[in-house]
């Protein structure tokens, strides 16, 4: 019995130490402030008051939770930087929290806990729109303003949907760029994707295939889209297999950020830099070395940190009772297009060997 007690004490000691050190290291300073207001009152305040001031009259700070699909990958680390910067600039308390793997059920639980914690706005990149729908309704019932970002939720569940790019425009860019770089429109190509479950990736691929059918009918897809589990290593292996199975393959399109890098690794290893065109959505910092030797030909993406910034900006606007307008100039982001609930950040960026070095994500 005594041993059991000692054991418990030891465990508690470890735990409290970990809690203590993790609290100092999370970069959301205002969380430790003693705020004991009830969330319901907080959310009702904005509709009547039209203060555009940073923290409001009573020193009240909006609590905005931004939830990525998962934490700990470069893409979502970059959007965290933007979201937290927006928090500082705009004087709101931003909490960037998400599960450690891309599981919708984990997100549901975390949102339930956030509702109990008491937040004013929730911006979520859902791993699955259907699974999150009930809990997002629950959040709305609790008076929380709900937005989605990066990946759309069910339109009924959100006030605004913050999109990085126009989906169709982005899907077409893959093919236009491929035809441009390859210098012809009758090549054989393959598609690598992060995962067969990812709705946004599937959407881009489907839109792209449809576009190719009309605009470039002579292109030949050698095999069905190949999943790579969001892993660069797996993308590398699959590309090696592809290159030996289809020696006349000329173009590889990579969807999801690790995929084009893995493909480029394989192309480089096989000394096919000049023969095979690799295009994909990659982050610029990781792409530089592949762009330099031509194993990767172009990276297509947007700046995720701007997306994080815009998301927090939009949430604050809604909390203070303002609407986003089409063509509105957002600081640090630029002009946005607004069509009903859908907010689009801007045209996609294209990384080449010249500009990729300028970005820090």
């Amino acid at each position: 019995m005594r041993r059991a007690l000692m054991a418990t004490l030891a465990v508690l000691l470890i735990l409290s130490m970990l809690v203590a050190c993790s609290q100092t290291s999370t970069s959301t300073p205002p969380t430790s402030e003693p705020e004991q207001k009830t969330p319901v009152e907080e959310t009702k305040a904005p509709e009547t008051s039209d203060n555009n001031g940073q923290t409001g009259e009573e020193g009240k700070v909006w609590k905005i939770a931004v939830m990525p699909k998962l934490i700990g990958i470069p893409y979502f680390n970059a959007s965290e930087v933007g979201a937290l910067k927006a928090g500082e600039d705009l004087g709101v308390d931003v909490q960037y929290v998400g599960p450690t793997n891309a599981d919708a059920t984990e997100q549901v639980k975390m949102i339930e806990d956030l509702i109990n914690q008491g937040i004013d706005a929730l911006c979520v990149a859902p791993n699955d729109p259907a699974a999150l729908s009930p809990v997002l309704q629950k959040a709305k019932d609790a008076g929380i303003v709900v937005l989605d970002w990066d990946t759309p939720a069910n339109p009924d569940d959100v006030v605004y949907s913050i999109n990085q790019v126009d989906q169709e425009e982005f899907a077409r860019l893959y093919y236009d760029k491929a035809v441009e770089i390859a210098g012809k429109d009758d090549f054989k190509y393959a598609i690598l994707t992060g995962g067969l479950n990812a709705a946004n990736l599937n959407n881009w691929i489907d839109l792209g295939l449809k576009y190719a059918k009309e605009k470039y009918p002579k292109l030949e897809l050698v095999t069905e889209r190949i999943p790579t589990d969001e892993s660069q290593q797996l993308a590398y292996q699959k590309t090696l297999e592809l290159l030996s199975a289809y020696p006349d393959l000329e173009v590889i399109l990579g969807y999801s950020t690790p995929t084009p890098l893995g493909a480029a690794m394989a192309v480089r290893e096989k000394n096919l830099n000049d023969k095979v065109v690799v295009i994909g959505s990659s982050t610029p910092k990781d792409s530089v070395q592949y762009l330099e030797d031509g194993s990767l030909d172009a990276g297509l993406l947007w700046d995720p940190s701007q997306l994080g910034y815009l998301t927090v900006f939009a949430a604050k606007e809604v909390l203070e009772g303002r609407e986003l307008k089409d063509g509105q100039e957002v600081p640090n982001v630029g002009k946005v297009t607004v069509n009903g609930k859908v907010v689009v950040m801007g045209p996609p960026s294209i990384w080449t060997v010249d500009n990729a070095k300028d970005y820090d994500f």
């Binding site: 470890i14 290291s25 599960p99 599981d103 919708a104 639980k109 009930p134």
Partner: protein, 325 residues
């Protein structure tokens, strides 16, 4: 005499777990009194632990025999996907909603039972290692599910179906009531029957159990079938709670279920452990998870803390076992 000794051993472990649970609960309540210790939070913790709890009990029973089931969540979801197809068809045929739901539940549990039996067949009768069989069936179940759903979520249940995962009955979350029923039935089955005894014996020593006249293959088959049924129950709860079914729902539950079982005192080599230990293990994980979420702690630290507690408990257990021998 032996059993008496191991009983005391088990009770001591249980005391330790209960104390850890209470201590964590009190700690979280002190850290955020106005948020953690609220009826809303207690209720959402009960909602959250039910589905993991049911799966963790299934995992414990398998681990008791020295096995493991990596296909746990994918069995649940494949069964739920097929059940969803059935319910969709019945809804569009305009059939009675209650009948539809009943049929859906029966289909989900039946399919999951069959998936469990497939695991059981290869493990018990073909003799392949459980970790290999379930690694294989995990991909197979996922592949079939992906082919049916094309990667997206299936939904379209009668609205009444939502009650199972989201409803409250007499002030208690309905899935929690299902969980309690599962706890009671499986505890009785594993710890109070001769069949349950043979499950422990297989985990201790398969050869000796076989020589003592027990049909170990049949028992193993039964264990995986029961695990399958529990996956089915969890599948029903999850489909209802997320009002949809998709191949990768709950994929993080497999390792969490192992964690809960081991934390709860189940020996990963089999032969030792209790259902109630696993239940407390699940409760501990839940308090840590919800408590730290409410505090706004980064999820990576939550994983670190859970890992640290697991290692601490196992180390203490190891040394206390050595001292007593």
């Amino acid at each position: 005499m032996e059993t008496l000794k191991s009983n005391i051993q088990n009770n001591k472990q249980l005391y330790m777990l209960v104390i850890i649970f209470l201590a964590l609960f009190i700690l979280m309540s002190i850290l955020s009194p106005s948020k953690f210790l609220t009826s809303n939070n207690i209720s959402s913790m009960m909602f959250q632990m039910s589905e993991l709890g049911v799966l963790a009990i299934g995992m414990s029973i398998v681990i008791l025999t020295g096995g493991i089931n990596l296909a746990l969540s994918h069995s649940s979801m494949l069964a739920a996907i097929i059940g969803t197809l059935v319910m969709q068809a019945m809804v569009s045929a305009g059939m009675n909603p209650l009948l539809t739901i009943l049929a859906g539940i029966i289909v989900i549990i039946a399919v999951s039972l069959i998936l469990g039996a497939i695991n059981g067949f290869f493990i018990a009768y073909v003799g392949v290692l459980p970790i290999l069989v379930t690694l294989g069936t995990r991909s197979v179940f996922e592949g079939i599910g992906l082919n049916i759903t094309k990667g997206s979520a299936l939904s379209g249940y009668p609205p009444e179906f939502n009650f199972i995962g989201n409803g409250v009955f007499l002030g208690i979350p309905f899935p929690f009531l299902i969980y309690v029923a599962v706890i009671i039935v499986s505890t009785l089955l594993i710890q109070r029957t001769a069949w349950g005894m043979s499950v422990y014996m297989i985990g201790g020593n398969v050869k000796a159990t076989e020589l003592s006249g027990i049909n170990t293959k049949k028992v193993l088959m039964g264990v995986y079938i029961i695990c399958g049924i529990l996956c089915g129950i969890a599948g029903v709860i999850m489909a209802s709670r997320y009002s949809s079914a998709r191949t990768d729902y709950g994929s993080s539950y497999v390792m969490q279920a192992v964690t809960a079982a081991v934390l709860g005192g189940t020996d990963i080599n089999g032969g030792e452990g209790t259902i109630i230990g696993t239940v407390i293990g699940v409760a501990i994980l839940q308090v840590i998870s919800s408590g730290l979420n409410i505090l706004g702690v980064n999820r990576n630290f939550v994983d670190i803390i859970i890992g640290a507690i697991l290692i601490a408990v196992l180390t203490i257990r190891f040394f206390s076992n050595i001292n007593e021998r």
